[in-house]
């Protein structure tokens, strides 16, 4: 079947299988930043935004996204610059192996849009579905709080 999805601002018409998951479609289309790590909606590595809201692409049927807008990690920075969240994650040591980072960035962008000045606890609560095995989370929390502060002072 055919669906039309706006991916990172670009409208695309895509031929899909009826039982296909958004994660599979996106990776097939070359959005390799969307990561496959669990298939049980338990880790957040595959997070993308649909109509601005973070969801899990591993358990979202592509067919259900017809006519909607998807943002993947590839949509949050370009070749020349990093987003402030990406920059802060590097600076604070919040990215080690990097496998969970695309999902984390996509979710954090939504967090700071919905709640520009979150408390530490609110950051933790919002991002609890994004597992990381490398960092112990502390550096990531600090990075997000730092960005919130920077954006506030702008």
């Amino acid at each position: 079947m055919k669906v039309t999805i706006k991916i990172n601002g670009k409208v695309q018409s895509v031929e899909i299988e009826p039982g296909e998951m958004l994660l599979e479609t996106l990776r097939r289309l070359g959005y390799k930043g969307v990561k496959h790590a669990c298939s049980t909606a338990s880790c957040g590595a595959c997070s993308v935004q649909i109509d601005g809201k973070p969801v899990l692409s591993c358990t979202t049927f592509t067919a259900a996204v017809d006519g909607h807008e998807v943002m993947t990690i590839e949509g949050f920075s370009d070749e020349n610059s990093l987003s402030d969240i990406q920059k802060a994650l590097i600076e604070e040591g919040g990215s080690q192996c990097g496998f969970c980072i695309p999902g984390l960035v996509v979710t954090s962008e939504a967090l700071l849009r919905e709640n520009p000045n979150p408390t530490r606890q609110e950051v933790i609560d919002y991002l609890k579905g994004n597992l990381c095995r490398c960092t112990g989370y502390e550096s990531q929390t600090l990075a997000i709080l730092k960005v919130a502060k920077e954006r506030q002072s702008k």
């Binding site: 790590a37 669990c38 990381c132 960092t135």
Partner: protein
């Protein structure tokens, strides 16, 4: 962050951003699964549903549906025995594994390799394979592996290197210094208890995966998510008799789980059979059930001390579960003693030994800490128990008996990695600073004056401390190489076999090279781990990269410096002793400068033409241990037994941290994994031996918010044999959470939990029994 050091440094000891950081946070296609080659076959593995069985017959004829390229069974792959363990050669692990065998030894063991045009076809074909099994009695509880009537798991004729396979013993070790039995009799206080540490899944976010293909010239090439590309190449050659190139792209975490060959033989078998590219990416369930787990261990520990707090004798006698295959069986077990016991070097007698047994469970393997967490849990716990018996503060007791600079332990010589070790005098040991400053920072003495139980809120608080050491490399075995090539734009290629798996080793190695060459990290272009392109390196394990590969890079950079000065002396016509390196240039005493770019340009085109390139290797004669003292504050809900780690402070001596932010990240991450092992992570099997906790839904690694704050402080330390004073830092953080948390729980409620993970359910019933 910056810590005090003894040399004036420009690049080392600063928190340079990770050299691969930008690509990773952008989600660039850098991982194994991100590589798409045209006409690649998807490879799936049919796995055994039985814990122990013989394949009586296997019929693939109905499964050869359209789109299936090949289905391989044990009849179709080389019958060559090997070990999946990625270790130096010859491996200390037994050869007891085939790519596919007629016998399956755990639920998840490989039965057939299916290669098809896509995943749906491969999965459909898998269901059409008919296998007739003869089910054998199995051993699911490793504590019964040596029972009289236990089935023999490895009865294959080809097995070699296992200690006593007829009794299911993969490895055995024992050593004694002095006479523990006699010394214990003389002690004022003796504790004799049994401790258990669990299986633990690595749960790296990136599942295992590999791709194989013939390059245009017909050279077999394997892209693999591996920590050990050079060992992988060697083992593939052993199995298939084929030379190949192994490329390690970015790795999404390994923690020891990728220090073994999991997927490579499957894809190579398919490519050799079909000539086509083959890709196999494990599902999370396969990663959890059919790769490796931490060796579960049981230790009976005995320790004795005098009234004045002198530790006299220490003994660990253990049983380790290596699962269906003996990967890292002997070495992980030995590290349980060799990287823990020297910490208490003042004892009169010490004994360590036991058996590593086979069982019909997932094979155990390397996992961050590599036995030291399993050994440290009983050692630190029993010392804590002794301290309470004596009535001494545990910090004081542990500190009084621990090793110091200038001292040694006979264990260094006696216990190595699967063989004898090497003597070493400790050049750097700041454990006293770690303990004393850590206690101050944590507020140890003030906190321990507080009441522990709040009866109104039904909450208890407790404070625990644990000490640890580790090693830096496997001395006299581990070798790392580094090549540095100078370019005419003033940059350098740094080619290393060292395997960055997320740790940041590419970055710290670039820092070391930049420091020596008086340039910036941006000018060092790192390329790591490609067996056709980079020099050999043993791989990322045994806390060796900073120390061994770092020393190799330093050596190479120093030789490059000599080469640069020599060439500059020729070009500038000045004696080398009047020349120095400074900011990407050669500078002479009289003020002339020649930039690196100009120098190599001249060498390329106009003057004494040559490429400046050097390769150096490093093997260490010693393995200087890092040290760590960790402090844990726990909060316990008396009504549910739930334990929350409120505060976890690590005071660590890792020598000079090459990159403080990355070093801190290593300790924080290891602490989190250690807290997972202590409180959260648990392998549960059904009665047939199938792992139930086989995904992130049921196997809970600590989530955000599960851990209070983890803090890291560095002691001012300098290791003279390390590159710029550095020692290792990646593993040690996993050694302390288990005992620190168990000790804190005892401090809170007076209950000694001697089995990890400490489940809220178990603690709750203990609390109830005590009537709290």
């Amino acid at each position: 962050m910056k810590t005090l050091i003894q040399e004036k440094l420009n690049v080392v000891n600063t928190s340079i951003e990770k050299v691969d950081g930008k690509a990773l946070v952008r989600g660039k296609p850098v991982f194994t699964d991100d590589f798409d080659l045209p006409n690649t076959l998807t490879v799936k593995i049919l796995r055994s549903p039985h814990a122990h069985a013989i394949i009586k017959s296997i019929d693939t004829s109905k499964a050869m549906i359209e789109g299936v390229a090949c289905i391989l069974t044990y009849k179709d792959v080389p019958h060559v025995i090997y070990t999946r363990a990625g270790q130096g050669y010859p491996e200390p692990s037994p050869y007891d594994t085939f790519v596919l065998d007629r016998k399956v030894r755990y639920v998840g063991d490989g039965v057939a390799i299916i290669a098809a045009e896509n995943q749906s076809i491969a999965e459909k074909a898998m269901k059409l394979i008919k296998v007739d099994y003869e089910i054998l009695p199995s051993i699911l509880d490793y504590e019964h592996a040596m029972d009289k009537d236990a089935p023999i798991i490895h009865d294959e004729l080809e097995i070699s290197g296992a200690y006593d396979p007829k009794r299911n013993i993969a490895a055995h070790y024992e050593m004694e210094i002095g006479n523990v039995e006699e010394e214990l009799k003389k002690c004022d206080y003796v504790v004799d208890e049994t401790y258990h540490t669990p299986n633990q899944s690595h749960a790296m976010m990136e599942p295992h995966g590999a791709i194989s293909y013939f390059d245009p010239n017909g050279r077999l090439t394997v892209i693999s998510s591996t920590q050990v590309p050079f060992h992988a190449r060697r083992i593939i050659k052993r199995i298939f008799g084929v030379n190949c190139r192994v490329i390690k792209p970015r790795i999404g975490g390994g923690f020891g789980g990728k220090q073994a060959l999991h997927v490579e033989p499957y894809v190579v078998a398919v490519t050799l059979k079909t000539g086509k590219p083959a890709k196999c990416i494990y599902s999370r369930e396969e990663t959890m059930t059919a790769s490796n787990t931490r060796h579960a261990m049981r230790f009976r520990a005995r320790a004795g001390a005098m009234k004045d707090g002198t530790l006299v004798a220490l003994e660990l006698w253990g049983l380790s579960n290596t699962g269906a295959y003996g990967e890292h069986a002997l070495t992980v077990f030995m590290v349980g003693g060799s990287k823990t016991l020297p910490l208490y070097n003042k004892v009169k007698a010490v004994k360590f030994g036991g058996d590593v047994v086979y069982s019909n469970t997932e094979p155990a393997g390397a996992f961050r800490g590599y036995g030291a967490p399993q050994g440290m849990f009983p050692i630190d716990s029993i010392l804590d128990e002794l301290a309470y018996k004596i009535g001494m503060d545990p910090i004081e007791f542990k500190l009084k008996n621990s090793i110091r600079e200038g001292e040694t332990s006979p264990i260094f010589k006696i216990m190595g990695e699967g063989r004898e070790g090497v003597d070493q005098i400790i050049n750097s040991c700041k454990i006293e600073e770690c303990a004393v400053n850590g206690a101050k920072k944590f507020g140890w003495y003030e906190k321990r004056k507080r009441p522990r139980i709040d009866p109104e809120r039904q909450i208890a608080h407790g404070y625990g401390v644990a000490f640890a050491m580790q090693g830096s490399s496997i001395p006299a075995i581990d070798m790392g190489g580094a090549t540095i090539k100078m370019n005419d734009d003033g940059t350098f290629n740094l080619l290393v076999g060292a395997t960055d798996l997320g740790t940041g080793s590419d970055t710290i190695l670039a820092q070391i090279a930049a420091e020596v060459l008086h340039t910036k990290v941006e000018k060092i272009i790192v390329y790591s781990s490609d067996t056709d392109m980079t020099p050999f390196d043993k791989g990322a394990y045994a806390s060796s990269t900073t120390y061994v590969s770092g020393n190799a890079v330093k050596k190479a950079a120093e030789r490059m410096k000599v080469e640069i000065l020599k060439a500059a002396s020729e070009i500038m016509n000045k004696p080398t002793h009047t020349l120095e390196l400074d900011e990407d240039s050669v500078v002479s005493e009289d003020g002339d400068t020649l930039s690196f770019g100009d120098l190599q340009t001249k060498l390329f085109y106009t003057f004494n033409q040559r490429q400046l390139e050097v390769t150096e290797s490093f093997v260490s004669e010693v393995a200087p241990p890092p040290y760590l003292v960790s402090f844990a504050e726990v909060e316990i809900d008396l009504g549910s037994g739930k334990v929350r780690v409120v505060d976890f402070l690590n005071y660590v001596d890792c020598g000079v941290p090459i990159n403080p932010v990355l070093a801190k990240g290593q300790v924080e991450g290891a602490s989190a994994q250690g807290i997972g092992m202590a409180l959260f992570e648990d392998h549960m099997m059904d009665k047939n031996g199938r792992l139930i906790t086989d995904d992130f839904f049921n196997y809970k690694i600590p989530a955000r918010g599960d851990i209070g704050s983890i803090k890291v402080r560095f002691a001012r330390s300098y290791e003279p044999t390390g590159p710029f004073g550095a020692k290792s830092v990646s593993e040690i953080g996993l050694d302390t959470p288990g005992p620190a948390i168990a000790n804190a729980i005892f401090d809170a409620v007076g209950i000694r939990m001697r089995k990890l993970p400490i489940k809220s359910e178990d603690l709750f019933f203990e609390i109830k029994k005590k009537g709290l």
